[in-house]
């Protein structure tokens, strides 16, 4: 099957309907394994059990950024190819990405309270992540303000591409500024500085969260396509009556 078949909303729907149960099942299994491994993982010698918050925090942070990445690609699809499915993908990704970004901030501040002694500091990593959340909310606000969906999609696309500047700022904030948030420790040239016993559950959780994201994304896209069909049918019905 050529990739372009995916661009047809009906084909996409049948494919999504077939894939979603499998993806959901896989997500549940991976989350089960990940959570079980996280529970078994040893406590940190300094942080004690609070280190386990990381198993939720790091994958959420990664998915919050992935969400904006997907929206940026979809924005290209909207602006360059005018593809309705790209609009749908961008619209579906916004609330999911916002939720993961919020989860990242909440888990981070719950971890910060015992470890740093404060829920919140205005350091570069935290601030840039908060701005990402605000940008997500701005995008959702645009979606909810502009009535015509394809016009909303184009306005959102431009805002998304401009807002993508925040992604490298988040990624490199710990290198560019002297932050309270620790530097990158999972992916490094010299190898990870995290012990295997903690790194393994982290990887499993990251993969499980990614599958969760993909499942939610496909389901949200399916719902959005159906919602648009309902809207079109209503418009047709209304014009037939009058």
């Amino acid at each position: 099957m050529p990739l372009s078949d995916l661009a047809n909303p009906s084909r996409f729907l049948t494919l999504a309907n077939r894939a979603i149960p499998w993806l959901a099942g896989l997500t549940v299994i991976l989350l089960g394994i990940g959570l079980y491994q996280s529970m078994l993982a040893p406590d940190d010698y300094q942080q004690g059990a609070t280190v386990k918050i990381m198993f939720l925090h790091v994958p959420s942070a990664w998915l919050g950024m992935l969400g904006w990445g997907i929206m940026s690609l979809a924005a290209l699809g909207t602006l360059v190819w005018r593809h309705p499915l790209a609009d749908v993908a961008a619209k579906a990704a916004a609330p999911i990405g916002a939720a993961f970004t919020l989860l990242c901030l909440v888990t981070g501040s719950l971890w910060g309270r015992p470890e740093w002694g404060t829920y919140w500091v205005w350091d570069a990593r935290l601030t840039s992540e908060l701005i990402l959340l605000l940008l997500y909310l701005a995008v959702i606000a645009v979606w909810r303000t502009v009535e015509d969906p394809s016009r909303a999609a184009r306005a959102v696309a431009i805002l998304t591409i401009v807002g993508a500047i925040d992604l490298p700022i988040i990624k490199f904030s710990v290198d560019w500024w002297n932050t309270l948030h620790q530097g990158s420790s999972v992916f490094r040239m010299s190898g990870s500085t995290i012990d295997r016993s903690i790194l393994m559950p982290l990887f499993v959780m990251a993969i499980a969260f990614t599958f969760l994201f993909v499942t939610l994304q496909l389901a949200a896209m399916r719902n959005e396509i159906l919602r648009r069909r309902v809207r079109t049918l209503r418009l047709m019905q209304a014009s037939a009556v009058s």
Binding site: L79, A138, R151, A155, I158, V162, G163
Partner: protein
């Protein structure tokens, strides 16, 4: 060049006439700065410390004021359609409108800043540095704001959405503007470090803003 110059003068003339927003911005700026001592108390050492932040915040909010009318009023009276059909490149047109907006709202703020600095107990040398940061930084606010103004152009209640879109994007400008002003007043960072980053942010927004805003206008006006 002639159509662009004509557009610049037209926009500035509209801004200073009745119904234009030119003096509204600077008035708003003065009101906000006056309100702060009521909120935090007339504590002069405290005002001196937070003065640069107050001036920057007031400038940011004031530059938002006229933005929602920047393209919307042209859209309502139809002149935006004429501009879109014209031969001048839309990016340049948008940039010229940005310059007109800055000249009528940004520049008056900078002229008023020394006076407000007096209210906030900022000494003359620091005031000069602060005014310099505003001079360099406020164009960035305008040119980032262009993007929001273009996205919100066809909305009836675009003003609030505009603020929600634009404010998160202006955070870096605010950070380095206030950092440069504070560096000049208290140190220990040399003034040049944050100030050059502020210059870079302004130059970047002068490039990115018109292109993104022009793209948004083309999409919106189809």
């Amino acid at each position: 060049m002639r159509p662009l110059a004509a557009l610049l003068f037209r926009d500035m003339r509209i801004a200073v006439r009745v119904g234009g927003g030119a003096l509204m911005g600077v008035l708003f700026f003065l009101v906000v700065v006056t309100l702060v001592p009521f909120a935090v108390g007339p504590d002069l050492p405290l005002l001196k410390r937070i003065g640069p932040a107050i001036l920057w915040l007031a400038a940011l909010l004031a530059s938002l004021l006229a933005l929602d009318r920047l393209f919307a009023s042209d859209h309502e009276d139809g002149s935006l359609d004429l501009i879109l059909m014209g031969r001048a490149p839309l990016e340049l047109v948008v940039a010229v409108k940005g310059i007109a907006h800055w000249l009528t709202t940004g520049l008056p703020l900078i002229i008023a800043a020394p006076l407000t600095g007096l209210f906030l107990n900022i000494d003359p040398a620091a005031e000069a540095a602060l005014t310099l940061t505003l001079l360099v930084g406020t164009p960035a606010l305008t040119f980032i704001g262009l993007i929001g103004a273009a996205i919100a152009v066809t909305l009836r209640r675009g003003g609030l959405l505009l603020a929600v879109i634009v404010l998160p994007l202006t955070v870096p400008v605010l950070i380095f503007g206030v950092a440069a002003a504070n560096a000049a007043i208290t140190g220990p960072v040399p003034f040049g470090t944050p100030f050059t980053i502020l210059c870079a942010l302004t130059l970047m927004s002068v490039v990115v803003g018109p292109f993104a805003a022009a793209a948004a206008l083309r999409q919106e006006m189809e």
